[in-house]
């Protein structure tokens, strides 16, 4: 009987699963049609067109939820009884006070239809106002960070970093000598309103070389006629300093709008639980501003930003020869520990980055738009070393001036169920290695030209199913001007193959002009399917190509700040990666899970390998050579979010990467270890919007590493003894606890004050991280207590 009743309900449910179509128009506060408003009924979503109208078909009968939203407006949330086809029209009301809390991710806004995309919203970004972009990105599972000390931080996506992860700031690709590992992205995190991480190379409009993934940074854009601002003040105990960031925005849907932002950071020496990290202070002075003029059919915008940073490099990391390195690894204690100071001495970096752009966008019809953009970037990187003669310490040992011009044109159109995007880019780059430093530059002067062309098509079968495919062609040519020591030229065996590059001779050096051309085809195909039961499946296959960059081709000589000889190779060929990437999202009422496995097969994978040592008059130095191999990276990222009750929630993030060097049957060097993050949050709106979070970060020891140790002779107890220099073994795993809490006080209708209190590394744990280039010299930072005040006005 029971079985029969179940069957009965089942059948009724099945036959009762009739579907209807709902149409309507969404208007703004003035009764004008609202374009791109988000409409969500049952599990179907869509956006309104230029007339404000929408159509949603396949809605099941019965009680359904209706949700309509648009940035800057009060969302409408209702339950409606549906029995037949309906017209539902709504008018949205302005929401002035909550403006900067709302970020809605619409399908039409996604950078890639079929790749895993994760977004950091402004509330998360603000938590890191005092820190770096890399640290904020660590909030996304599958993103780890590569560090040089405590301030130079860059993201690693699915095991890959540096120029395999382009950073797009305000639709401009950041060109900031990010090829080497000790260059952080030159960007003020406070200028970001939204950060999107795309794991995979599928966003072809940004370039075809994103073998790891892409980070897209967009400013906040307020389309409402209002003037808003915010000021964030941070104070940190570790480094005994802080930052102040202030911004003002005048929004407007049509007509003029503008924004301006300034940030100052000032921090002294950081400390580990046991000692000061001498010379680890940093400073930043940043400014950005923009104007925008918009009309119904077109808009024009211009922006300029200036990033200026001074970063101390801990003194203990400036080593001489291999004996110093051996001593540092074995003593596990920095060779220089001095009392706290704010001053920054050599070794240090000073970086300036200017970015200016103009952009013009025009709607050709309701469904088509065209976009032109010109951007200019100028980056000046000065690295100061401890010179033999102290009098020379103020003279940079490294002075690179990189100027980049890029022009973009993009065309977008919607035709029926097709969405098409195509465009081209032209770029010219000039790198000038200033010879006045008196140190042979590791990166030579060069000129580079780029041209690219792409097309992307998305076909929507229905609201729940879409297919995406894209193709891109890139041409680049690079000509460098470089002096090679004749002895190095011969040792590398360049005589036979590359003698045509030689154009002159100067003492014991050859003047060469190496020139390389590259033609690259990149492509991807992907699929997105939204099932009932709140389940989504994304799958993407991409082919990406990356040219060897100047440091990989031309490096030759002693890298003073790391005490190693780095050797590039003119024979390096382009890398090609085939990445398969799939994502499952499942949403229960209070529990959400996302699983993202991937496989990345990379041909000609370029990596830096310790190969032995070379003897100079300074003694022996470890030699690191750029090598190429067949590589396979595979892994997965998992995220869950559980709303335990109205007040409590739990989040879990896990990431695993396995990197194989297929040519030698070893593991790949510098792969992120397995990481698990757990976060418990308590929220209570009636206590001034109290939020309290406890986060646990567990990083396992990386047991998958290649052994590149080598032997050298050093003086031990006054006897010359052969020893093994252990540069391969990863440090132990570690577990950290972090606390974050905040409260928001309304001052009046428009103004509010948010105060937050946070502690990083509560237990003051001593640890070293495998992905910190300075792990041979010092521990990581200890406990850090931070206070943040944020005024919204």
């Amino acid at each position: 009987m029971r079985f029969l009743s179940i069957l009965f309900f089942f059948l009724v449910g099945f036959f009762g699963y009739a579907q209807v179509t709902i149409t309507g128009v969404i208007l703004d506060e003035n009764g004008l049609p609202l374009r791109d408003a988000h409409v969500h009924i049952a599990n179907k979503t869509t956006s309104t067109d230029a007339n404000g109208s929408y159509v949603l078909s396949g809605i099941p009968k019965g009680k359904q939820k209706l949700y309509i939203s648009f940035i800057g407006y009060h969302a409408i949330e209702e339950t409606i009884e549906i029995s037949t086809d309906l017209t539902i029209n709504r008018q949205l009301k302005l929401d002035v006070t909550k403006l900067d809390d709302i970020t809605i991710r619409q399908l039409s806004n996604s950078k890639s239809e079929s790749s895993n995309e994760q977004v950091l919203k402004s509330a998360t970004i603000e938590k890191f106002s005092n820190q770096t972009l890399g640290e904020a990105l660590k909030e996304v599972s599958g993103v780890s960070i590569l560090k040089t000390g405590s301030t130079i931080v860059k993201p690693i996506i699915n095991g890959l970093h540096s120029n395999r992860v382009p950073i797009i700031n305000n639709n401009v690709r950041l060109e900031d000598q990010q090829w080497g590992t000790e260059h952080a992205p030159n960007l003020d995190i406070n200028s970001a309103g939204k950060i999107t991480v795309i794991k995979g190379a599928s966003a072809l409009q940004y370039g075809g070389d994103a073998i790891g993934g892409i980070v897209v940074i967009e400013p906040e854009l307020i389309k409402k006629d209002t003037l808003v601002g915010k000021t964030i003040l941070n104070l940190a105990s570790n480094g005994m300093g802080g930052s102040l960031s202030s911004s003002l925005q005048k929004g407007n849907r049509y007509g003029w709008s503008w924004n301006a932002l300034g940030t100052f950071k000032y921090l002294g020496d950081k400390e580990t639980p046991d000692y000061m990290l001498s010379n680890s202070g940093n400073r930043e002075q940043n400014f950005s501003g923009g104007i925008r003029y918009a009309q119904e059919k077109y808009n024009f915008n211009a922006m300029y930003s200036f990033y200026n940073a001074q970063i101390g490099i801990i003194k203990a990391s400036h080593i001489g020869n291999v004996n110093d390195l051996y001593n540092s690894i074995n003593k596990q204690q920095p060779s220089v520990i001095e009392p706290f100071t704010y001053s920054i001495d050599a070794p240090k970096q000073e970086v300036q980055h200017h970015l200016a752009k103009v952009n013009y966008q025009r709607w050709l019809s309701e469904n088509a738009s065209i976009d032109f953009q010109y951007a200019f970037q100028f980056n000046n990187r000065l690295e100061f070393d401890v010179r033999r003669s102290s009098a020379n310490n103020d003279k940079a040992a490294f002075d690179l001036q990189l100027a980049t011009h890029t022009f973009l044109a993009d065309y977008k159109t919607n035709i029926g169920n097709w969405r098409l995007k195509s465009g081209l880019n032209l770029g010219y780059q000039n790198n000038f290695a200033n010879p006045k430093t008196g140190v042979r530059p590791l990166i030579p002067s060069y000129e580079k030209l780029d041209a690219g062309l792409y097309g992307i098509a998305v076909y929507k079968f229905d609201n729940a199913t879409s297919l995406e495919s894209g193709i891109r062609y890139d041409f680049s040519t690079i000509e460098a001007t470089k002096y090679y020591l004749k002895s190095r030229w011969t040792e590398r065996g360049y005589d036979a193959e590359f003698s045509h590059f030689i154009v002159g001779e100067e003492g014991n050096q050859w003047l060469t002009k190496p020139t390389f051309d590259y033609h690259n085809i990149t492509a991807n195909i992907g699929f997105r399917k939204q099932f009932h039961h709140e389940m989504e499946w994304l799958v993407n296959v991409s082919l990406a190509s990356r040219n060897p960059n100047p440091s990989e081709l031309f490096s030759d000589g002693l890298h003073h700040s790391t005490g190693q000889i780095e050797l590039g190779d003119l024979r390096l060929e382009k890398e090609q990666a085939y990445k398969f990437n799939t994502t499952f999202n499942k949403d229960w009422k209070s529990f959400r899970i996302q699983i993202n496995p991937f496989i990345n097969r990379i041909s000609n994978f370029i990596y830096l390998q310790p190969t032995g040592f070379e003897t100079t008059i300074r003694g022996a130095f470890p030699v690191w050579e750029f090598k190429q191999t067949e590589a396979l990276l595979a892994g997965f990222d998992v995220n869950t979010k559980w709303e335990i009750s109205n007040h409590f929630s739990h989040e879990l993030g896990m990431a695993y990467v396995n990197g194989q060097n297929l040519s030698t049957n070893e593991y790949l060097i510098d792969m992120p270890p397995f990481v698990i993050n757990n976060k418990i949050q308590y929220k209570n709106e009636s206590w001034f919007n109290f939020v309290g979070e406890l986060k646990s970060e567990t990083v396992f020891r990386q047991n998958q590493f290649p052994n590149y140790n080598f032997e050298t002779n050093i003086v031990v107890n006054n006897i010359l003894t052969p020893v093994i220099v252990d540069i391969s073994s990863p440090p132990n795993g570690y577990h950290l606890l972090h606390l974050y809490s905040e409260m928001t006080f309304k001052i009046n209708k428009r103004n509010s004050l948010t105060t937050s209190f946070s502690i990083q590394n509560i237990m003051n744990t001593t640890y070293r991280d495998y992905l910190n280039r300075q792990r041979f010299y010092a521990d990581e930072m200890g406990r850090n207590v931070q206070i943040q005040l944020k005024f919204n006005y």
Binding site: V386, Q401, R488, I617
Partner: protein, 186 residues
């Protein structure tokens, strides 16, 4: 109108293109030490030990020459000089070490039973610690062979245990030169 805007956008890059010129100026390493010479004078002998690395940080190892063998039991007055032969004119770095004597110390290490080295009492920095440019070498027993290691340390901790006596173990700082001379005692 539309075309005009387009032209403006295309012209701007050209205006900006006047960035720095890539002249082909050669960089000669300024701070390289190419040559370390230790001279031992005593018992009517002048023995010159030279380590010369004319490609600086390049791949070729330094060329080491030793002008003769030492005589057992003899006391030698030693001194060491540093220079950069790649610089034009030739750069004498010894004078610079004397000027910045607080920031430098030269260490000597003898393997086996080659003998004993002590710093000359007169060769002190402004705080009374040794610099190590001058020393006394008492040769060991006849038939001994081994290596003399000469190390120039930059920014050493001269007050650490044993450093003033010439023991490099606790000296820290970083190495500006480190050369090895094979010695034989007759």
């Amino acid at each position: 109108m539309k075309n005009l805007k387009l032209i403006v956008l295309l012209v701007i890059p050209v205006l900006f293109s006047t960035s720095c010129s890539n002249d082909d100026e050669v960089v000669n390493e300024e701070e390289v030490i190419t040559t370390v010479t230790t001279t031992l004078t005593g018992g009517g002998q002048v023995i010159t030990l030279t380590s010369r690395d004319l490609d600086g940080d390049g791949p070729n190892a330094p060329v080491v020459t030793v002008s003769g063998n030492l005589t057992a039991g003899t006391t030698y007055q030693g001194s060491t000089t540093f220079s950069n032969e790649l610089a034009d004119p030739f750069e004498d770095i010894t004078a610079e070490i004397e000027e910045e004597n607080l920031d430098h110390q030269i260490f000597y290490f003898l393997s086996g039973a080659l003998g004993n080295i002590t710093y000359s009492a007169s060769d002190l920095d402004s705080e009374g610690n040794p610099v190590g440019l001058h020393f006394t070498f008492v040769a060991g027993a006849s038939g001994t062979t081994g290596t003399l290691t000469v190390t120039l340390r930059h920014l050493p901790n001269k007050n650490a245990v044993g450093v003033a006596e010439g023991d490099i173990t606790n000296a820290a700082g970083n190495t500006d030169a480190e050369v090895y001379f094979p010695l034989t005692i007759n």
